[in-house]
Symmetry: C2
Subunit: 473 residues, 2 copies
């Protein structure tokens, strides 16, 4: 018989107490194979509990394999290895994330990745959201490419605003650019050498390398993509940002676009990945049409997201694939589920269909243009003209400032930190820094108020870049 | 001078009309390099439009590279390749998805992947959703591992209900199992041979193979994972479903768990992926603790999702990584964004924190147990006992029926289709069908009413499996 110290008043049901006790006896070796457990009837009588309590405990022990039930013979302890002795100690000592460090409080954060959330039409979004929360269909698995209505809406938008040739059948909705690039990594089957713009989008580089691709960094030649160097390389695929080079901001000329398309057409496995990242925000003239719109031969993979136009937090992007790659997707990724929650897709679709997206874009273009122009004005006001060069090409959510004065990058960044200014150096976007690199910074303005822009730029000019002689501490 | 047929009443602004006209002239070769455009002033006078209209058109042409602006000399047509002639024709001929086909209307769909959406607490979810829609923080990019509050809530839940050892620092929130497996593909750097249960989860197999991994299918030995065969193989990683084998439903015994852990501990690069897919739904006794809870040496990668417990459409899962893999994640995937929308994370966190998740699980366990027991009862009522074998181990959202009679699988499936019954054959889950395989089907019950279960099982018994002699058409 087994004496089990039962606690009838405990929160734990009696059957669990019996189960836990016997399990521990087995795990510690006090009960061992092939010992026979007392019959359920006799143990129940001994412990003065109901027969079904012991039955349930025994069944649990059987289900987990501690005990075997042999018909008409009873319950027998199973053979268990007791020797799981490992030198590494408990799980609670998990390595904490040490990447964060304490710094001086940040007063002015010129974050180029920020967006303006103050002007988002929350009430519209919320009312659409409420409606969709009422729809139980949003709790059922949806189409693996993304819900068809949303794909149609995005197609219409892309065709109208970017000239992109697409149909819902060759579009995949995914959880942002990072996810879509991971899908492309599957589609290329690790057989491609991929050329990237240098400087360029760092996350793309990391995703491609961590997925086993060989990368070829192609230095921009005076802010332009060097198609001749690409042609001389063994790259099969190139990743470009033709409408607004990231991060330099230049626009790929029509001649270069044609040259790039010709390169792609020369071999069957060549493709161009067009990352059309913040094409919505151009403050002068009409939008630059997408490279994909010029492509007559299915060579351009077009990727875009709603990260800048709506929010990076909604994790929603789309990819337009040429038919050959779409066919490969249907074979290789047939079972892949669409990673975007169905309700998020439904909300976005209503937002586009209701005309709110277009209204929001127009409003934000005006807002951002105001901030962009004001930041330019403030920079011109507070910096002497020979000290810096500006670039940005009247688009996007940041301006690049290139410093021509005597301070080193280290000094500038030290001063900035000391004055509570967070700077994003351009050099972080380079794989290989060019010989003529001068300290340059991306100055984001999207989430700053006009006052913050004025104060931040004044502080930057007067306390970081200007007083060349007074910096001694 | 250029004569441009302007339409002042058109929807298109004048500057776009000028831009489009000149662009076309260049693209068709009627204007060619190095021709000089008329000065903006003279063209404006000639067309009787304002100077700024022509300026804007010219700037757009310059921005897109059709024209070069040379200081003090004017605007010159750039050299453009006109020779983009490709044999493939227009984009509208995209390959349509032909995987769908017309069938007899489905009256009874025993879908094992379905969930019951009728009992979801929509009003609670909606009210949480409304609150979170009001919070602009949900429109800002969140933590790349998932928001810390949610990771803490999931840790608490897993620790309490599954015995999993975890902290928010070694947990990654991702867009469902598929996404998390893709992340693991990155972490193993394509260097591992991965052993899978056969039969098993088909999507896992596809994700791993399409990501370039060599797969070893390990046939289950009487419904149990064959650790001896694993040991004799060159596999480094194995993917298992210990609490409820998918699809057979068996529970991995404690002895086998210990053996599997011992195998993993023998070499540094060995890991076990534990897919704890529908651990929430066990109808007898207490839940089977996770394999990870027994692991003292950081060898188990624990993956779970909310697909069954809440909905597959919310695309939310989590992965608990051993410290060595977590460190690798922080290096290789430092820039990867969390693919789950921030607002979805915040809603789920409130749902768990408010106690609604636990309540919902308890309610659903009761609902599903009711349907499970009722389906068993109906099967026992309508099928003669020697004709079929049942399995399912009192857990999960389906029962497996194994047919012992004379009909072929083909005949059964033809009859089922003719009678409007959709069956999911077990053989679809096998990589290699065992010699003793008999026609078997997964009968899901989650989204069926009691009436549908009774009618569907009756129809299945009487019209599909039973009338062995009357089937002639």
């Amino acid at each position: 018989m087994i004496t089990i110290p039962l606690e009838p008043d405990s929160d734990q049901p009696m059957y669990i107490q019996i189960y836990e006790y016997i399990k521990n006896e087995i795990l510690t070796g006090r009960l061992s194979c092939p010992e026979r457990l007392p019959s359920a009837r006799s143990l129940a009588a001994y412990l003065q509990v109901s027969r079904s309590t012991v039955d349930t405990a025994y069944e649990q022990l059987v289900a987990e394999g501690y005990v075997d039930a042999k018909e008409k013979r009873g319950y027998f302890v199973n053979s268990i290895t007791h020797t799981q002795k490992f030198t590494v100690s408990g799980h609670t000592e998990m390595v904490p994330d040490k990447t964060k460090k304490e710094t001086v409080p940040v007063l002015y954060d010129f974050n180029p990745d920020a967006i303006d959330t103050a002007h988002f039409p929350y009430s519209v979004w919320k009312s659409i959201g409420k409606n969709q929360l009422d729809n139980p269909i949003n709790f059922l698995a949806g189409d693996s490419l993304g819900i068809p209505e949303l794909r149609q809406s995005i197609c219409d938008y892309l065709h109208g605003s970017r000239g992109v040739n697409c149909t819902p059948e060759n579009m995949i909705v995914g959880a942002g650019l990072d996810y879509l690039l991971q899908l492309l990594c599957v589609l290329f089957q690790r057989k491609a050498v991929i050329a990237l713009e240098d400087p360029g989008y760092r996350s793309a580089r990391q995703i491609l390398t961590s997925n086993g691709y060989q990368i070829l960094d192609i230095p921009l030649k005076g802010k332009a993509f060097d198609v001749d160097m690409l042609r001389q390389s063994n790259a099969d695929v190139c990743y470009v940002t033709p409408s607004h080079q990231f991060p330099l901001g230049s626009v790929m000329s029509i001649a270069r676009r044609q040259k790039l398309l010709s390169w792609a057409h020369e071999k069957e496995n060549r493709y161009i990945i067009e990352d059309d990242h913040d094409s919505e925000f151009r403050y002068k003239g009409k939008p630059i049409p997408a490279l994909q719109s010029l492509d007559k031969g299915y060579k351009v993979i077009y990727i875009g997201t709603f990260s800048k136009a709506i929010s990076p937090a909604i994790r929603m992007g789309y990819m337009v694939l040429p038919p050959a790659l779409m066919a490969r997707y249907r074979t290789l990724c047939a079972t892949y589920a669409c990673p975007v929650p169905r309700i998020s897709q439904a909300i976005l679709n209503d937002f586009i269909q209701g005309g709110y997206f277009e209204k929001h874009l127009n409003r934000m273009r005006k807002q951002y243009k105001g901030k962009h122009d004001y930041m330019l004005e403030q920079i011109r006001l507070h910096f002497p003209s020979g000290l810096i060069e500006l670039s940005g090409d009247n688009a996007g959510l940041y301006i690049i400032i290139r410093y021509l004065g005597p301070l080193s990058a280290e000094e500038i960044e030290k001063r900035a930190e000391k004055n509570g200014i967070r700077l994003r150096p351009l050099h972080g976007y380079y794989a290989n820094l060019p010989a003529d690199y001068l300290p340059s910074y991306l100055l984001g303005f999207a989430d700053l108020s006009m006052e913050q822009i004025a104060d931040g730029i004044t502080c930057l000019a007067e306390k970081v870049f200007l007083p060349h002689d007074s910096y001694l501490s």
